[in-house]
């Protein structure tokens, strides 16, 4: 008997009632893939929109979560798709290794990281997660398991990286880690009063590993795009104070707080968001300078507040993340920021990053700038986001499917010319009939 549970992405919009099946073995998984109707694999539900479920539900990979192999000399780890990134860090960091690329939360699965081809703050220097994969095993339509790597089944390898789970179910993967001397990040914070200034600062810091700017999207006129830019490097032992240098790879687990339930009405409104953004900028400006930050606080500030998505209340929220190519990025960002601040619909947190090229047919990153925003879900928000789609498209940009819950098929195809080929491939090899999400149906993938 099917048990229906509420299922949504991290944005809590859209929400469905469906069947969330969690196989314990690859045999059980194979039975699901071969059964009636298309399925979609779901990791830890951290993608924001409707990419991790379809109308019937989803196949949870969380029980297929064994670490299979760790070569502590070469820094290569092999694990099943349901392994959580934070658990990988807990396992490898004490032995001097760190993920090559990490998104803004450590509560993602390895399978999800591949399907989304996640990027981090080091996208110019290190590309996206897919660029560090040695191989993965993929369960195809019909249940066959195929090994994919840059050498073996390379077309399928590229289609699956950033392929949103639409080529099959990722079973296990091996990827290369990065050597680190410590669990600390040396952070250099600077404040910039205008978009032009922060973009210049990005240009002048191309050698840095991690770069991210928190942008006050509600500032206008001569303050447009004012930002706090954080540049980070893995700290060397020689850069640590004596008491940390003794055990450079040790850390204290942060205490976590949680939002205990979904708020009926969101406290985030025009007023509080404006105040928060201004405060964030002022605090950031006050905190300018160098500091040492532990890895958890540096990479995952929002993970300290469990279930933070509940703050947006019943209606949920929409993340909007676009990337614009270098040539049009400045003009495009000005137009986007003017439109957002003009609409008075600020984002709680807005992030500006540089991205670089990566592998993957449908991958999001390209050489350019990415802006990520979140908005409480409402009709005016939907209208604003449609307007932002037009601007993104007009400037040669595209959207991050992992954040998306509402883009139209026609705009998507214009933004991502590879979509047509991807769709044809899915029809040809039978994956279209076996794997689908609400998103893939909406986008005609």
């Amino acid at each position: 008997m099917a048990v229906l549970t509420p299922i949504s992405g991290w944005g809590r919009y859209p929400r469905i009632r469906g069947e969330l099946t969690a196989p314990r073995s690859f045999d059980d998984l194979e039975a699901l893939v071969g059964s009636d109707g298309p399925v979609i694999a779901r990791g830890n539900g951290r993608s924001y929109g409707d990419s991790s479920f379809n109308a019937a539900g989803a196949v949870s990979m969380l029980r297929l979560d064994r670490m299979l192999e760790f070569d502590a000399q070469a820094g290569v780890i092999t694990c099943e798709a349901g392994v959580i990134l934070g658990d990988v860090i807990n396992a490898v960091l004490p032995r001097g290794w760190f993920p090559p690329v990490t998104p803004g939360t450590k509560y993602v699965t390895i399978g999800g990281m591949i399907a989304s081809n996640v990027h981090g703050k080091n996208a110019v220097k290190n590309g996206a997660f897919g660029d560090h994969l040695a191989w993965f095993d993929l369960m195809r339509a019909g249940g066959d398991v195929v090994r994919c790597s840059p050498q073996e089944n390379d077309a399928l390898f590229r289609d699956t990286i950033g392929g949103m789970g639409l080529t099959g179910v990722i079973l296990r993967a091996a990827f290369q880690l990065r050597r680190v001397e410590s669990a600390w990040i040396r952070q250099d914070r600077t404040a910039h009063g205008h978009l032009d200034d922060v973009m210049r600062a990005f240009d002048e810091s191309e050698d840095a590993t991690y770069r991210v700017a928190w942008i006050d999207v509600l500032a206008r006129g001569r303050n447009l795009g004012r930002s706090v830019l954080d540049i980070g490097e893995h700290a060397l032992v020689s850069e640590l104070p004596a008491k940390s240098a003794d055990a450079p790879l040790a850390w204290k687990t942060r205490r976590k707080k949680a939002v205990p339930f979904t708020l009926p009405v969101s406290p985030l409104n025009g007023l509080t968001v404006r105040a928060f953004n201004a405060m964030h900028y002022r605090l950031g400006r006050a905190g300018v300078g160098q500091s040492l930050v532990d890895w958890d606080s540096y990479f995952y500030p929002l993970d300290a507040l469990l279930h933070w998505n509940r703050i947006y209340g019943r209606p949920g929220f929409a993340q909007y993340q676009c990337v614009l190519p270098m040539a049009t990025a400045h003009d495009g960002l000005v137009r986007l920021l003017e439109t957002i601040s003009g609409a008075g619909r600020g984002s709680f947190l807005a992030v500006l990053k540089r991205l670089g090229p990566t592998c993957g047919t449908l991958s999001f990153p390209m050489d350019g700038y990415t802006l990520a925003l979140d908005f409480p879900w409402s009709k005016p928000t939907a209208r604003l986001l449609d307007r932002l789609d037009e601007l993104t498209l007009a400037h040669g940009g595209r959207l991050y499917l992992t954040k998306d819950s509402r883009l139209s098929a026609s705009r998507f195809t214009e933004m991502q010319p590879e979509a047509g080929g991807f769709r044809a491939m899915r029809t040809l090899d039978g994956s279209a009939g076996s794997f689908s999400s609400l998103q893939s149906e909406r986008l005609g993938l």
Partner: protein, 249 residues
């Protein structure tokens, strides 16, 4: 997590269960080397490897069938370094209707839940008696042993027996360095209970249950019994037999 200190090894028998694996991950994360015992080596190897990678601790898979009681003493003595904590997580619900109809099926339920674990505790007591440090025997029983019910009274009877055995063993070993810990989990969301219609407030996750057991080991508690169940079962035990006879649950 930070670099774990060196703690004594723990042996978990019946290691393939969800509670066992959650307990193993937790204890290894706290710095305990582990022996994980199952009836078949291939049933536990991959999990042993997973936990070893996660924790950086040595995790050794071993074959042990507690119903082969004759070999237990030698099997425990062969473990080097010797475990300081021995956890019996062995359990088998069986099929109640089958147990009623077939004494051999009933015997499997009794042997797996009582005879075998009892022999393991006895063999463990001999091993731990030779260790000059605080050690512990941990027996996982069940609230199902608190009062027999139509639905699962073979399982309940065996668990009732095991609970009584642990209580007696604890008395016998009082004054030694061997603590005897009785664990009575309530409903835990595991493979065993999957698909059963259980009252949600009374169900805890395997991780929560494992956390409770790990805490009891380090605090050397005598009985692990969630307070909700303590209240519920004291009410159920107090129901007069003529009334209980007609209850359906």
């Amino acid at each position: 997590m930070s670099t774990p200190s060196n703690r004594p090894p723990v042996l978990i028998v019946g290691a393939t269960s969800d509670i066992s694996l959650a307990l193993a991950r937790r204890l290894a994360g706290d710095g305990h080397p582990l022996y994980l015992a199952a009836r078949r080596i291939d049933a536990i190897e991959a999990d042993a490897r997973d936990i070893a990678i996660r924790s950086g601790q040595p995790v050794t898979p071993i074959v042990l069938d507690v119903t082969q009681t004759g070999g237990l003493q030698a099997a425990l003595a062969a473990l080097d370094p010797a475990p300081h904590v021995i956890v019996s997580m062995v359990g088998f619900m069986g099929d109640q209707a089958q147990s009623e109809a077939d004494p051999e099926a009933a015997k499997v339920v009794i042997d797996t839940n009582l005879t075998g674990p009892a022999a393991l505790m006895e063999a463990g007591a001999v091993l731990l008696a030779g260790i000059d440090a605080p050690t512990a025997l941990v027996g996982v029983s069940s609230v199902a042993g608190d009062r027999g019910r139509a639905r699962n009274y073979y399982y309940g009877a065996a668990k009732a027996g095991f609970t009584a055995l642990l209580s007696g063993l604890r008395q016998r070993l009082a004054g030694t360095k061997v603590a005897v810990i009785t664990v009575k989990p309530g409903f835990v969301a595991t493979r065993m209970t999957e698909g059963m219609a259980l009252p949600k407030p009374l169900v805890e996750s395997a991780e929560a249950c494992a956390a409770r057991i790990a805490k009891a080991i380090s605090a050397r508690r005598m009985v692990v019994y969630p307070w909700k169940w303590r209240i519920l079962m004291s009410v159920i035990r107090a129901v007069p037999e003529p009334v209980f006879r007609k209850m359906k649950f």
